[in-house]
């Protein structure tokens, strides 16, 4: 249970920032 919780926490630590980059930034490739 403790291991599962640790894996879930570590996944969130990486997944949340990645999601945040996707929904918050708006860079464009050079036209």
């Amino acid at each position: 249970m403790k291991t599962l919780r640790r894996i879930a926490a570590r996944t969130l630590v990486v997944a949340l920032p990645v999601l945040y980059i996707v929904v918050s930034t708006a860079g464009t490739g050079h036209p």
């Binding site: 949340l16 945040y20 996707v22 929904v23 918050s24 930034t25 708006a26 464009t28 050079h30 036209p31």
Partner: protein, 156 residues
């Protein structure tokens, strides 16, 4: 030396940094078109609009994109701000993340697209994007340092 940071002072610092990022981003976006007339944008100003997320990685209807961005700020911005007030992160990290996220969110809300203007060669971005990337780099570095300290303590 005593640490004089209280949750309130950290919250004020976070809000001040977020506001500073938001205002700088809005002013630079508004000034970009005028800068183009100066020597062709000085070689790094190229105002364009992006109605999608970064590099077209995802797109949806505008209300859905606005809701996802707002939810992102509430969830991740809120989490990092909470963590900062509890001593887990420096205040500049949620400040940059929330200020940058809010800058692009308001841009989308008002104009239906985000204004990019800073031409970095292969990509065109804005100050909000840079603030978010800097905040994120700080967040990941902070988490990594925290983990290292934890595993050192476990070995003792």
């Amino acid at each position: 030396m005593r640490n004089l940071s209280t949750p309130h002072s950290v919250a004020v610092r976070t809000a001040s940094i977020a506001l500073g990022v938001f205002v700088s981003d809005a002013v630079s976006k508004a000034a970009a078109p005028a800068l183009v007339s100066l020597h062709g944008g000085l070689g790094f100003v190229l105002p364009i609009q992006n109605a999608e997320y970064s590099f077209g990685i995802a797109s949806a209807s505008l209300p859905l994109m606005l809701a996802a961005s707002a939810l992102g700020i509430l969830a991740f911005g809120g989490y990092t701000a909470w963590s900062a007030t509890h001593g887990g992160l420096p205040a500049w990290i949620p400040g940059l993340l929330i200020g940058g996220g809010a800058g692009n969110l308001i841009d989308r809300l008002l104009f239906g697209a985000v204004h990019d203007w800073l031409d970095l060669g292969k990509v065109v971005v804005n100050l909000a994007d840079l603030a978010i990337l800097a905040g994120l780099a700080g967040y990941l570095a902070s988490v990594a340092l925290h983990r290292r300290a934890e595993s050192r303590l476990e070995r003792l």
